[in-house]
């Protein structure tokens, strides 16, 4: 009996001592240690046979590990050096892991700002979904350098190698996000356009993605192509009795037409100046001197504002909008100044400081009254703040 009690007492003592000691050890543990990579991966092609057919499970494992590693780097050094390898392993194991491509956008594009690796990931993603009917495109996307591959694909699109119809069994989100990334993160309109051209050929593409193409074509100066596509959208909307799309397409037609006309005017005003050493006195002079066959009407119906001294031309609607934005900002500064000093600044230079004045966007002048604090632009003098 005595031995049993002694045995139990020894168990309790050893257990208590261990817990107390562990408690002491844990107090010394640094909880906020910096994140260190603990996963060094070989290439996906090597990992794939090693997982013995449990590809999906292994892809999930690496996927979870990648998310964890991203979190670690995101809260730490924000260096994403090994992530392309991680994504390579994941998409080699599961080439149809859509989320991996989209998350890759976030990591390699948004965070790492690495254009080459982002495009490479997207290109592989697109290629993985293509069947052998599009072998040329698939081959380019896999084997060529990412930027060269995009050029090859655009060439194939121009040559009608890709069908116009929505036939690709590819989730539209992959090329769509790629296009989004190309335009908004890397400011590459041409690459974005190529990706959107692929996106609109996917079976699951929603209607609104189609409208990105004329929008980008307009950005690239391809106004006529863009207009043609908007017109097609408008006609389709009329046929479908879709009033929302009709109004969107109508607005886009006006905007594209306006931008196109403005570009025509500006190019010809420039040529006029080069020949005559002065800007035309009025827009009609462009038609008189055969620079333009006629003066096109402003699509919004508000008319153009042309300033012969500077050669600046702008439609009235845009001018009013832009001037209001500027005036709101300047007026806010004037009011702040007034609140602090109980008087209006003598000049705008006094308000903003020498050399820091806000220039009038259309090369005209700000007219400022230091007695009343009111300000307007000579571009649209009727708008006073």
């Amino acid at each position: 009996m005595m031995r049993k009690v002694l045995f139990i007492i020894l168990i309790i003592i050893s257990f208590t001592a261990s817990v107390l000691l562990q408690n002491r050890i844990l107090k010394k543990v640094k909880l906020d240690i910096p994140y260190i990579d603990s996963l060094y991966l070989p290439e996906g092609n090597i990992v794939k046979p090693l997982v013995l057919g449990y590809d999906m499970f292994a892809a999930d494992f690496f996927w979870l590990r990648t998310i964890q590693a991203f979190g670690g780097h995101w809260t730490g050094d924000r260096v994403y050096a090994n992530f392309d390898r991680m994504f390579d392993v994941i998409i080699t194991l599961d080439p149809y892991f859509e989320e991996a491509y989209l998350f890759g956008t976030l990591v390699l594009g948004d965070e790492a700002k690495d254009k080459e690796r982002t495009y490479k990931l997207f290109n592989r993603g697109i290629a993985n979904y293509l069947d052998n009917r599009l072998a040329k495109m698939k081959d380019a996307l896999i084997n060529e350098e990412p930027m060269t591959a995009l050029k090859t694909v655009q060439k194939l699109i121009d040559e009608k190698y890709l069908p116009e119809m929505q036939v690709l069994d590819l989730p539209y989100k992959i090329p769509y996000y790629a296009g989004y990334m190309a335009y908004f993160n890397f400011s590459e309109t041409e690459s974005a356009l190529t990706y959107y051209e692929i996106a609109v050929r996917c079976k699951d593409v929603p209607d609104w993605v189609f409208r990105h193409i004329p929008w980008l074509q307009e950005k690239m100066g391809e106004y006529i192509i863009a207009l043609d596509k908007w017109r097609r959208d408008y006609n389709q909307a009329v046929e479908d009795k879709d009033e929302l799309i009709m109004s969107v397409a109508d607005e886009k037609i006006k905007l594209t037409t306006n931008n196109y006309y403005l570009k025509l005017f500006r190019d010809n005003i420039k040529s006029f100046k080069e020949k005559y050493g002065r800007f035309p006195n009025k827009l009609e002079e462009l038609a008189e001197k055969k620079y333009l066959p006629f003066i096109p009407p402003e699509p919004y119906g508000t008319g153009y504002l042309y300033f012969p001294k500077t050669g600046v031309i702008i439609d009235k609607k845009t001018a009013e909008h832009d001037i209001i934005v500027y005036l709101q900002h300047i007026k806010l500064q004037i009011n702040e100044y007034y609140k602090k000093t109980n008087k209006y600044p003598n000049t705008l230079t006094e308000l903003f400081g020498q050399g820091k004045e806000i220039p009038e966007p259309f090369l005209n002048e700000w007219i400022y009254d230091n007695k009343t604090g009111k300000i307007y632009s000579t571009t649209v003098p009727h708008i006073v703040f």
Partner: protein
């Protein structure tokens, strides 16, 4: 009838094996933990749960088939119980078949338990049951019929450790079968390039190509039963094909015939 009696006895014996319960508990824990792992992912929650569930069922099914199967025949010899069996009017082929079907029933009972738990998880978590999940499990069951036969073959002439190693190697090769075929094709393409360039193809390359071509045809193709990717990405397109089912039947029969042949040649004196 005699086969059935041995199978029944094998099943009773197998369910007394503690390894079986250990593996089953691990499998259930793994399938259950998929919910927790799904919390760690960014989107793709459903996929993680399905992947882990299907992986757990397949992986632990294979482990059960191997770890329980490798000792079945050996223990009968080791414990001398084989003498009481072969002294009765039972053919040796009946003994092997009984052992095989007994083990297969054990494996399938466990498979059913894991499957029911997995489907329960799927329904409770509101993922939505799709028939393709059942197809994946039917294919797993078919694959396990071959793995079980492999375990029986190696158990009929070697000790459990060696039988486990042999079965595992065959399983690995079986899973890499299609990669071996790709390797053979790669070698063929490279040889073609050398011929076109007017160069000599090394004899070792020719041998390797032939060897790879033979290996991938002779050894089991277990990659055939992996439809888990299709179940996740295109469940509506998943179909049960008769070819893999018939292949499992013919290959298992072939393996069992080998096991019977070896077992009949064995001298128990």
């Amino acid at each position: 009838m005699k086969v059935f009696a041995i199978a029944k006895n094998t099943f009773k014996e197998a369910v007394r094996n503690r390894i079986l319960y250990l593996l089953l508990i691990f499998a259930i824990l793994m399938i259950g933990s998929s919910r927790i792992l799904a919390l760690l992912t960014i989107s793709a929650h459903e996929r993680v749960i399905k992947d882990i569930g299907l992986f757990g069922i397949n992986f632990f099914g294979v482990l059960i088939a191997i770890l329980v199967g490798i000792g079945l025949v050996y223990h009968e010899i080791d414990k001398k119980t084989i003498y009481t069996i072969i002294s009765k009017p039972i053919h040796r082929y009946q003994f092997i078949l009984g052992k095989y079907f007994g083990l297969l029933i054990t494996v399938y009972v466990n498979l059913i338990i894991m499957t029911l738990f997995f489907f329960f998880m799927v329904l409770v978590l509101g993922i939505g049951f799709h028939i393709s999940l059942l197809y994946a499990i039917i294919y797993t069951a078919t694959e396990l019929a071959i793995v079980t036969a492999l375990a029986i073959v190696f158990s009929s002439f070697s000790n459990p450790t060696m039988a486990a190693i042999y079965t595992l190697i065959m399983f690995i090769i079986g899973r890499m079968n299609e990669d071996i075929l790709r390797f053979a094709q790669y070698l063929a393409r490279e040889s073609e390039k050398l011929i076109q360039a007017g160069q000599h193809v090394p004899p070792f390359s020719k041998f390797l190509q032939g060897f790879a071509n033979v290996i991938c045809r002779v050894l089991p193709n277990l990659g055939l039963y992996n439809i888990r990717a299709e179940v996740i990405h295109a469940p509506d397109k998943v179909m049960i094909s008769w070819e893999p089912l018939l292949y499992a039947f013919t290959y298992s029969a072939f393996l069992l015939l080998i096991a019977i042949f070896i077992f009949q040649k064995r001298n128990f004196k």
